[in-house]
Symmetry: C2
């Protein structure tokens, strides 16, 4: 496996917002980038705008054979079948990573089906935009964002280090190593639960008559309420165990706040608010 | 009652963040501003910084007697008793307004106890900061914000217009007239429910170990989680009827999302997300 100093051939499979952003960032660093995406317009756009060196809207055999690194930026359910079908073409010693927002439900499966000379090291760039497609890609979204590497016992130290290096050269603010389970638990809370809340706030009543009265707090809580339903329903279902746990804890907490309010229990309401302020100040220190 | 052209004597009772911001804005427009606040440091600070012309840390008889307008920026529960105790000093034809975040629970009570020659026209500047005190006051917070006038059947057209004019000269983006009940229903949803959600997200588990992994969505949803527990517990309890209604609708909605997730009902999850995206686009148009 080559290090980051040599100019590897990198193949990106799935050239949407995230694949395109990886392509831009890595090409800027001097890597040769090829890409595969079923959408012809994405490949054409990326070629015309110098985002990739070569591209295909089918699994091109030569492109797959010569790749030293493959980065998968596909929907999670597509990922497994793509690898299963194409891995006979993989170069000996290939290293694979992904960008998937859920980990435990895919990492073990992929490592189990993968050829023994190829290593899959899972990672999750915690970055995004509310728009889609390579046309909106931008490697600037990585600055200030977190990059999580999620190895299993099957991964080598070399691959973990390589993957941390990938996050680093792409410009992520912080690189962390978590187990797939730690990742899924964390992401269920900080990202998935917050999206469910924003959606529920939008759908819990026909609030459009209130459009004239919304202030900063409502805007803040619903900024992520425009949501790609195909991607997020898949991510939610794949992380069901952790997300349900966090949703239940949140619903329980709101219900308890509700009961204190119904009972005019001012002291208990204030106690919750003091704890909230105290925890929030801890987050603000960072 | 004087119009906004003459230079009225304005008395501000309660010189915190909001009272101080009113004082700054109105003084800039040439009005003479006096203020009463029990906190000596607030009065001293405001005098030293030219925010008010004169100030007292007790209900000064002369200041009250000469006021043409009194603006109350007190906690709601203090407001009623203050008026009850001091109204014998009010000038004939005095006009009163407030800044209180709840309306129906106070407006009728105050109008019922008030001298018949004095008019109370309720209003709510939907602006604020996460910091407190006259030291942090800033009339810039009114720009882009909503100003709600909440008259009852007892109010005159003149007073309603006068109060709309107050919002206008203070620089609010949009001035609306709502009944006290419409106001409380709206504020229960766009402001109070969002604060309960932010608090519950902070208190539903000991999340401080996640401080390294929070991204934009978590930060957006918890920006208002530092909360003045005395003020907000009072506002929540005073608006209990409407807030409970909105909390119940929200908890019901999240629970239904939860059940779809538990049942692997992808289509229903997507339906919720599509509705959310559609409604959010409506809010974004404004």
């Amino acid at each position: 496996m080559k290090g980051w100093i040599s100019k590897d051939n990198i193949l990106i499979v799935g050239l949407g917002l995230m694949g395109g952003s990886y392509a831009r960032g890595l090409k800027r660093l001097g890597y040769r980038i090829e890409a595969i995406d079923t959408r012809r317009e994405s490949i054409d756009y990326a070629l015309q705008n110098g985002i990739i060196d070569e591209g295909f809207c089918y699994p091109d055999e030569t492109a797959i054979r010569k790749a030293d690194v493959i980065i998968f930026a596909l929907y999670p359910e597509l990922l497994k079948s793509w690898i299963e079908e194409q891995q006979h073409l993989f170069k000996y010693g290939l290293i694979i990573t992904d960008v998937t927002g859920v980990k435990s439900c895919i990492v073990y499966d992929i490592q189990n089906i993968l050829r023994s000379d190829v290593e899959f090291i899972a990672s999750h760039p915690m970055a995004g935009r509310e728009v889609y497609g390579v046309e909106n890609s931008d490697d600037g979204i990585f600055r200030g964002a977190n990059f999580i590497v999620a190895p299993t016992e099957k991964n080598t130290e070399t691959a973990i280090e390589w993957c941390c290096g990938l996050g680093k050269i792409l410009g992520f603010r912080k690189i962390s190593v978590l187990t797939p389970e730690e990742h899924d638990d964390m992401i269920g809370f900080v990202s998935q639960l917050t999206h469910v809340i924003a959606v529920s706030l939008m759908t819990c009543n026909d609030n459009t008559n209130l459009v004239d009265y919304t202030g900063d707090s409502f805007r803040d809580l619903t900024r992520i309420a425009s949501i790609n339903e195909d991607m997020w329903s898949e991510l939610f279902l794949l992380n069901k165990k952790y997300l349900l746990h966090h949703m239940d804890a949140f619903i329980f907490e709101m219900s308890s706040f509700r009961d204190f309010l119904a009972a005019d229990d001012r002291e208990s309401l204030k106690e919750k608010m003091r704890l909230s302020t105290e925890r929030h100040s801890y987050f603000n220190k960072k």
